[in-house]
Symmetry: C2
Subunit: 343 residues, 2 copies
């Protein structure tokens, strides 16, 4: 087989397995040359794959009998889920049969299994979940989005290095700027671990001139920095709050435009503008969260994503593989660790 | 003097003292009968007050020589700021000369001075900052918004009781629902203190049937619950992220509507609808954060608020005074504490 091989957990997510194949077919159009290994119940997925002849010609089904349920605890998934579609898809990356794995399944289980099967990169204490989002200046990256409810200063420093490398690989930025999320920009504010991380980052030679200090919540959508670093609890809340606020604004806009006959006419005339706005804030565009800090590329697609969202998640994985992202990350982390060890 | 007397720190905030008087004049139109004590530099503020004869006729200037700077640390404000316009306005409430105090000044200093001068309500370990915000279902309350960067389970339980009382007083809800912000709705997720608070709240007779368990970031703008409870770090980030996202959406909308001639015509026709939308998401509407848990009503206006925003902050203070909010809160806290002591 030539080209990159993507291992896909075909059974994870609310709309699996149907949307998985529609999404993969779309991704194949965008990235000709990629190939797929689909892990799942072959009785269910074989007819779905057959609907897409071009996709079927570059794919192989790997039959699995078990699916990790959406509400299974990570610890249970580790004990009982090693023969699941999710775990076996990750195994393919660990064995070098696939270049990356994509799943819409249970996030906690995926992270736990990926940590055990792929192992962490040397120098990384805690892997993090990173994703990008729209800003006034373009797109930015935020991490951690939920892998670690609490973090210490050295976790936050590692997230900064990983986030900057991710931003370079996916968004193509040469020297992305990094900010540490806090409840104020004054030095005296915030939690102890954040103040400590701020001190470490100011003197970190791995991010020369890139660290911009504390930022606040409003800086996330403003795009003040290219990489927003925070613990998984705060990042998760911030990302979901932004998604919800965007929905609220759409809701208010719809109500306003239906409030009078003249407003409705105005809406009809400006319809294409509204459609372009919808596309711009469409969360599917930003689907595909990367598990950073593992010895392998593992991308999580949103559990509720449809075919378009799933295709975008595959696109993120392909970008990371093509850019040899994990090699770059390994070098940067190694440079950061040796500095820390020296100091 | 008849009616409620408002003590105003006339020197705090980016647009003080000018917008303070324009705002107070507007508040007086909305709440006839209220009176004012203005604390500040009388040479500067006397001519400003003279511009509003109706306001001047129900106001008194209390000359003060010192102003707390926006960047002064709370600990320094406590040592050096006791003769400031801010501290002396709070003193007026402590002495019973005013019913409440309103300031646009340094939040940390205001909280520190108010805690020392007004003292906490019995049974409250940590006062919290609460404010309301627009949702798909109307308006909700969130706390803490930044007074406490880290909180334990009992702080979060007290915030829940205070937030529910605040929602009843300002929004008129009889049995407001309460949710605890987390990074997932499953019992197994989140930080230890949040899981512990969840257990305590499920059995709290002071909030019968009102506690709805964990909520996520997207539930804040969705209006899933009437009262969102979280620590001050997360609340601060979530509120500012929502404000920033609203601005981002407006920015995208503006760009979309200027993208073509037809879109511009559509915009002109739907202009009144857009104006109504602007009013609906106007952060000035939601200005006025209450410091809950003190023996006195202390309302913080946004540092950058203009006259309209300041008038709204005064309106929040008037609502709380007229509803005898602190008496109700004292009773509820006392009921909660006795339950906790019994158990």
């Amino acid at each position: 087989m030539s080209g990159h091989i993507i291992a896909v957990d075909a059974m994870g997510g609310d709309n699996a397995p149907d949307c998985v194949f529609a999404g993969a077919a779309l991704a194949l159009q965008r990235h000709p040359g990629i190939q797929f290994l689909f892990y799942g119940d072959d009785v269910r997925i074989a007819p779905l794959l057959a609907k897409y002849p071009a996709l079927a010609s570059v794919s192989k089904i790997c039959p699995t009998a078990m699916v990790i349920p959406a509400d299974m605890k990570p610890s249970v998934a580790l004990r009982q889920g090693r023969q699941s579609s999710m775990a076996l898809a990750i195994d393919a990356v660990a064995r070098g049969e696939a270049a990356c794995v994509v799943s819409s399944g249970n996030t906690g289980a995926l992270m736990a299994l990926a940590m055990i099967i792929l192992k962490r990169l040397p120098g990384i204490d805690r892997p993090a979940i990173a994703s990008f989002f729209p800003t006034q200046r373009g797109e930015s990256v935020m991490l951690d989005l939920g892998a670690n409810a609490a973090c210490d200063a050295s976790n936050l420093v590692q997230f900064s290095v990983m986030g900057a490398a991710f931003s370079s690989a996916v968004l193509g930025l040469t020297n992305p700027t990094v900010g540490l999320l806090n409840l104020g920009t004054e030095d005296s504010k915030g939690r102890d671990e954040i103040k400590e991380a701020d001190g470490l980052l100011r003197n970190l030679p791995t991010l020369p001139g890139q660290y911009k200090g504390f930022i606040e919540g409003n800086d996330i959508p403003a795009g003040t920095v290219d990489v927003v670093v925070t613990d998984g609890f705060t990042g998760n809340v911030a990302l979901k709050t932004a998604e919800g606020t965007s929905k609220l604004y759409s809701h208010f806009l719809r109500q306003a435009l239906q409030s009078s006959f003249v407003a409705k006419i105005g809406y009809l005339l400006a319809r294409r503008a509204f459609d372009s706005l919808k596309i711009r804030v469409d969360p599917r565009r930003y689907n595909g969260a990367m598990f950073l800090g593992l010895q392998g590329v593992c991308v999580k697609s949103h559990g509720g994503s449809d075919a378009v969202g799933f295709a975008n998640a595959i696109g993120v994985a392909v970008d990371l593989v093509q850019n040899r992202f994990n090699d770059t990350l390994r070098d940067r982390i190694s440079a950061t660790s040796s500095v820390s060890a020296d100091s």
